[in-house]
């Protein structure tokens, strides 16, 4: 593949629209001509027409925020969510601790124990949102797609802890039962059509 277009760093050669601005006049005659030009070309009225046109078109771009919201991308990284397994409705987190390890701002703290079925269970899981930089590493590293980023960007509350309690982050069981858990499409999540692209591991050799 030809790499030339990627190696060419001289971006100013093309792709920029050059605005046609005449040089400043240096002679008095040139200045006079500019004054006459500006006076009789009626440039001021061009500006007036532009704003009046926009007013008449009435193409309002305002989003009335609390009532209307802009759609956010599926890869948006806001407050974390914990997902549940589709098969059993139990939480996906296996307590491997990778997110705690990879977290570059050291904001994830977790504690695990062995439960009565000899399975590893998460007993404590907190994210200090005051330190979190929403880099998305935890979601990327999670082998079970358990911790992901959600779309909840309205972080106003009495206490930060209201967002980062494990129970708060976990998909509510009612939502899960209705089958309405939304999968995260961002960093670390499986991409669509992954089934078609997956190759068998060549165990033969």
């Amino acid at each position: 593949m030809n790499q030339e277009q990627f190696n060419d760093r001289n971006v100013s050669d093309d792709g920029y629209l050059k605005v046609d601005i005449a040089d400043y006049p240096t002679t008095p005659w040139g200045r006079f001509k500019r004054v006459v030009d500006r006076t009789f070309k009626l440039e001021l009225f061009v500006g007036l027409w532009v704003v009046l046109r926009e007013m008449i078109k009435f193409d309002i771009h305002t989003v009335k925020y609390p009532e209307e919201k802009m759609p956010i991308g599926p890869r948006y990284r806001a407050v974390h969510e914990m997902k549940r397994l589709w098969e059993s409705d139990t939480e996906r987190c296996i307590g491997c601790g990778l997110c705690e390890k990879i977290c570059i701002s050291n904001c994830i703290k977790m504690d695990t124990k062995i439960d009565e079925n000899s399975r590893k269970e998460v007993s404590e899981y907190t994210i200090n949102l005051g330190r979190c930089i929403f880099c998305g590493y935890c979601a990327e590293v999670c082998p079970e797609l358990a911790i992901v980023h959600g779309g909840e960007y309205e972080n106003a509350s009495d206490q930060r802890e209201h967002f980062v309690d494990f129970a708060q982050m976990l998909t509510p069981i009612d939502t899960m039962k209705e089958g309405k858990q939304l999968e995260f499409e961002g960093f670390g999540a499986i991409t669509p059509h992954e089934d078609e692209r997956v190759k068998k591991t060549p165990l033969a050799y």
Partner: protein, 326 residues
């Protein structure tokens, strides 16, 4: 007769005060809405239907805010300055006929407080005194930005008084009177003055922007250079008075320009009255329109425009008018 005249005058004064104080409030609403529409926004929408009660919210805010008199200001002058701005703006209204004369029952009402024979001179003079609001307010504020604004306002007002006065001189020579009613009646019979005095019309219109301190010449209180200029240290209703003065001035100038050049209310019919209000509305709208479209000029450009361009044109206009009239 005397008592009737007295009562009538007092009622007219009260009506003008109330109507134009309210209109000044609505002026801010119109300004926000129109500027918003022109920049594809919605403007105030939350207080009342379509944000109509925003004026009430602003009024309550202004009236209940603490009236701060900062340390180091010259207290008395600081306190009186906004009153000067508002008062002179409303005093100028005394010589403006707002509508043609009409009759209630058999009593004839002239919607002008006093038809003095030096009407236009009085209006220009009182609006000129309005300079003392920004000037004293800015100088008393103990704030460098306010001081700059005071200096600018003095320069701008005095310079553009010259343009206003000279540009209006030629129409005055034609009409032969300073009364706005005479101007109106002259145009009802002889045709609009804008056709015989287009140069004077444009000069007066340009100068009106400087007199009211509106956008192309808004350097008296340029937010991006000198914060709010003379209004920086003011809070609450004192600041509100500056605002009322500015918007009342805009309304009165919008009444004066059609009266002087665009036929006023014509022959005094109902249609003429509505046409007059329509013209007034256009000039007020134009004040807001330019604010959305045009950038501000620098102070030196403003002075250059006044003394090197507008004033010579005005003088030439007078000379030519004089020669033609001879």
């Amino acid at each position: 007769m005397e008592t009737a005249y007295l009562i009538e005058t007092v009622i007219k004064i009260v009506i003008i005060l109330l109507v134009f104080s309210a209109l000044a409030g609505f002026g801010t609403y119109f300004e926000r809405k129109i500027l918003a529409f022109m920049s594809r926004r919605l403007g105030p929408m939350n207080v009342g239907p379509y944000g109509l009660l925003q004026i009430a919210a602003d009024g309550i805010k202004l009236f209940t805010k603490e009236d701060i008199i900062p340390t180091n200001v010259v207290g008395r002058i600081f306190k009186i300055a906004p009153v000067i701005t508002a008062a002179t703006a409303f005093m100028a209204a005394a010589a403006i006929p707002f509508l043609p004369a009409f009759t209630i029952g058999s009593y004839e009402v002239n919607p002008i407080v006093s038809d003095i024979n030096i009407g236009i001179l009085y209006i220009l003079g009182v609006m000129g005194i309005g300079l003392y609001g920004p000037l004293l307010g800015g100088m008393a504020s103990a704030n460098k930005f306010s001081l700059l604004s005071a200096a600018r306002s003095a320069a701008v007002f005095i310079s553009y008084e010259v343009v206003t006065g000279l540009s209006i001189l030629a129409p005055i020579m034609i009409v032969g009177s300073l009364s706005l009613i005479d101007f109106n009646n002259y145009q009802a019979t002889h045709g609009w003055l804008v056709f015989s005095q287009p140069v004077a019309f444009i000069l007066f219109w340009i100068a009106a922007f400087a007199e009211t301190g509106r956008t192309p010449f808004h350097l008296v209180a340029n937010d991006h250079e000198i914060i709010d200029g003379f209004g920086t240290e003011y809070s609450g209703m004192r600041w509100g008075l500056f605002f009322i003065g500015e918007y009342a001035n805009m309304f009165f100038i919008s009444f004066v320009i059609p009266l002087l050049f665009l036929g006023g209310f014509g022959d005094g019919s109902v249609m003429g009255a509505f046409a007059f209000l329509g013209k007034m509305a256009f000039f007020f709208f134009f004040f807001l329109w330019t604010r959305a479209a045009w950038p501000d000029v620098r102070p030196d450009q403003l002075m250059m425009l006044c003394w090197k361009i507008l004033m010579p044109i005005a003088v030439i206009n007078i000379v030519i008018t004089g020669i033609v009239m001879m």
